[in-house]
Subunit: 384 residues, 3 copies
Amino acid sequence: MPALTWIITDIDNDIQQDNFRITPADLPGTSQAGQQPAWSVTQRVLHGGLREGVRLIEIDNGRMKLMVLPTRGMGIWRACLNGNQVLGWQSPVRGPVHPAWVPIAEPSGLGWLEGFDELLVRCGLESNGAPDFDEQGRLLYPLHGRIPNRPSCHVELTVDDSAGTITVRGIVEETRFHFQKLRLRAAVTTTIGSSSFSIHDEVENFGGTAAEMQLLYHINLGEPLLGAGARIVAPIREVEPHDLASIANTKTWDLYEPPTAGVPEQCFFLDLLSDQADQTRVLLKNAEGSAGVALRFNTCVLPCFTVWKNMVASADGYVTGLEPATNFPNKRSFETQHGRVIPLAPGATWSAQVGIDWLTRVEEVTGVEKAVGKLGETTGATLP
Amino acid sequence: MPALTWIITDIDNDIQQDNFRITPADLPGTSQAGQQPAWSVTQRVLHGGLREGVRLIEIDNGRMKLMVLPTRGMGIWRACLNGNQVLGWQSPVRGPVHPAWVPIAEPSGLGWLEGFDELLVRCGLESNGAPDFDEQGRLLYPLHGRIPNRPSCHVELTVDDSAGTITVRGIVEETRFHFQKLRLRAAVTTTIGSSSFSIHDEVENFGGTAAEMQLLYHINLGEPLLGAGARIVAPIREVEPHDLASIANTKTWDLYEPPTAGVPEQCFFLDLLSDQADQTRVLLKNAEGSAGVALRFNTCVLPCFTVWKNMVASADGYVTGLEPATNFPNKRSFETQHGRVIPLAPGATWSAQVGIDWLTRVEEVTGVEKAVGKLGETTGATLP
Amino acid sequence: MPALTWIITDIDNDIQQDNFRITPADLPGTSQAGQQPAWSVTQRVLHGGLREGVRLIEIDNGRMKLMVLPTRGMGIWRACLNGNQVLGWQSPVRGPVHPAWVPIAEPSGLGWLEGFDELLVRCGLESNGAPDFDEQGRLLYPLHGRIPNRPSCHVELTVDDSAGTITVRGIVEETRFHFQKLRLRAAVTTTIGSSSFSIHDEVENFGGTAAEMQLLYHINLGEPLLGAGARIVAPIREVEPHDLASIANTKTWDLYEPPTAGVPEQCFFLDLLSDQADQTRVLLKNAEGSAGVALRFNTCVLPCFTVWKNMVASADGYVTGLEPATNFPNKRSFETQHGRVIPLAPGATWSAQVGIDWLTRVEEVTGVEKAVGKLGETTGATLP
């Protein structure tokens, strides 16, 4: 049976399905339905508080549930396994937050922080780093860019019953007349019955003149996976601490402390080794080595990897960010000086994939550790 | 019969009742229903213009109707008595305004003024005064703070039939990751058949590190109560005029002129006397002494009282503000220098009560005047 | 039969008709219904992407359809003729955009550009030109003002069957407590079966003190009408190029080049001749002279006319703006210095009309050209 596609949102054709639900029973010839996990994909509109009007797509692949936010740039709010384990983190911000409540244009450039609570946030597209200002102190680029607070103008679900995969695609545009005309085609795919998913993104310059872009995947993990003794395993060529608080802790860049009120955040910029196909892997495992999250991506496409360690009190958002990206999340002007922006000719596209495996058994964790080990050195850091 | 509670909004449990209505008939055993005033509590969503999407709760206690705005920080839009008298004021802004239309993050810091039309606005929680800027002129604290333009994430109604009271509670959070994590639990209670209501608020620092807060109750009264000859009666220790326009009018700080186009606003900072339990009262009465509004509150909890006199043309918003608060509504940096911020340890809470009596008979007005008189000097002003 | 009026929105009376439709069958005595074109007026709410929540009124006069946006200051999104020809332009912004997504208060003052895609945008009311800043670089007046991103608080439809006209009226307020209190009463009228429409606007200072206003009609035309060889025909007294890119092209101010990626926009300020009743006409015709758009307005009321030529690639928004206005779209402070603001005493109103004819035959185009010719010189430019 060929893959089937359902349109959830399409502004060009005036389609917006507020209450959407597809299950195996919606496939023609449901004979296999009894054999495969009872997957489903639903969309609904959230109400109340800061979430009023946010659309939530829940992809339940029969084992894992992914919560996708078309209203927030196709971010992934959180993932759940077996109905009770949650992948993500506890932000003091109680989201998902509708972008109308996120003051990204505030003069400080920090308003983005009022909407930050997701497992996976795309940062970009014109810029993705720290706030940047003109010589008069006027905001030029807000923290982490505009795309995570833009809504999708097209959303669709594809089920490939033969391949056993479910894919949700969304189109999000970051457009300002006279300025950027960037279109994100974001896809998330999961295999039925698995605890893995992957991101397949494409960014197009649909304007008539040359453009530049940046993209960073802000993947955020907190308790219970994160905790004292949790550790990153990565094939590092070099680790560069970002600031004074990080320099003082460079030797333990890969190790996590317990939640501690008031400790400064740390940030490390990693240069990763990869295989002959430029593929690399990064693992975050818990202290026991019994659970983890592993990333897979291409270091030519996403050459900069940032580890953000925010080991504050749980109430303040104890979390780490694993962040494969086109660049480091410095100010846009600094990254431009260092050549870390992606030029896009008119009509040109850039694309990337990130695979995310949620590991729940010791053997899975050690398996990834071995795979990382084959790529190269996994501990130690070279100071700049 | 114990008090009964109904949930109107609760984001944690995906509850949002858009069309909510409770009357005595909803109480178990309605035998008393015929004897007590026909009270009701309803919630609905407003539509059109700047009010699109604003939730309005109407508490009708059988005599007085209170209009509460969960979408606007649990502010009180206005009160009505006997179906035709209105307590509040006529703002040129035609609200209630949905926060999406209020540009509080505008560089001037004055965008709050586009949403200002309520009887009672809470100003806070991180700051509550004039806009404050950094050394480059970038906005740090917008006018009157963020809480009045934040939505409630939990709202509930409690009816205590034995006590004859109706209470609406709301939770509003002012949260920015890396910055404040302040939670307001706001309650408004009214006794069935009365023309009084009271505010019971609690502010919690739910973050893991020390925080600071400010809160000011901006209680706004206009015509017909306010008018030429209306007067404030308060037990004053000291009156401090805020600026040049106020200094020139210090002797008449307690007296109101008729609406006059273009006159500058005046502002007086009051130090109030109180009784042995730290309770004080402030009265605004009309020229005839036949109607008024009286406040009751604790001067240890709310030590700073501001009288704002905006005696402009009716079309521009002829109104006075009676403003019990933790501080004076100066810039946050100035108030910090003078120690007028409330420190909140992690998990700590601050709480306050303000009673508001709508007086409609001469005897009620003179009764409050006598009560104020017992507290101390009620006229005259000591210049700084 | 007298004219009939239906209320679509009225916040004072809690009226908001989300799904509204009137056709000849709704008129009392439908005997004429079979004889006149099958006109209709509908309103609905758009969903998905940036258009979520935007109300769209479609006035179908039997020949031409006008799409009016009460959520966006009563702007006109586009017009359609015979179901397939479109008047308007292809903006890279895919609107109509709900104002909640338009960051007009962004420090740059350029956020307005994220919502720009209409055929007719009113710019105003406090200001209508380039962003203007205070001496610290803080935004005072955002690009093109606030009114195009304000919602209507009252909308109504009037059908005058005797006159054969359909009129939609909207009220939009631009109000900030302590600052402006300006009310726009906007009306668009079309004759059944025609390809013309007219704007009848009134701006009132409903505050108690003197105010100032500016208004500019940003009428935007793109392909297929616009293209290489398209030309403006206008009775000019003087043409003033606005900047260096324009000065270099003054001789061809009235002629359009094909879409060309990256060319700078040009802007010309025109002083127009008019007849004894102060009426003037401006025509934009295609290269073949077979189609055009003609404007009619009063040069005493709208003395400043700007031609904006944005001859960039189609993907970037190939478009020209014909802009009758009270002033030129310079910074507010500059226009104030040159006396180009309209004073409005308390309660005073200003009103204007603009007629817009969509010409679809050679004879119509040549007819307007002759009418313009009678008003005076139509080519050549006087450099300042």
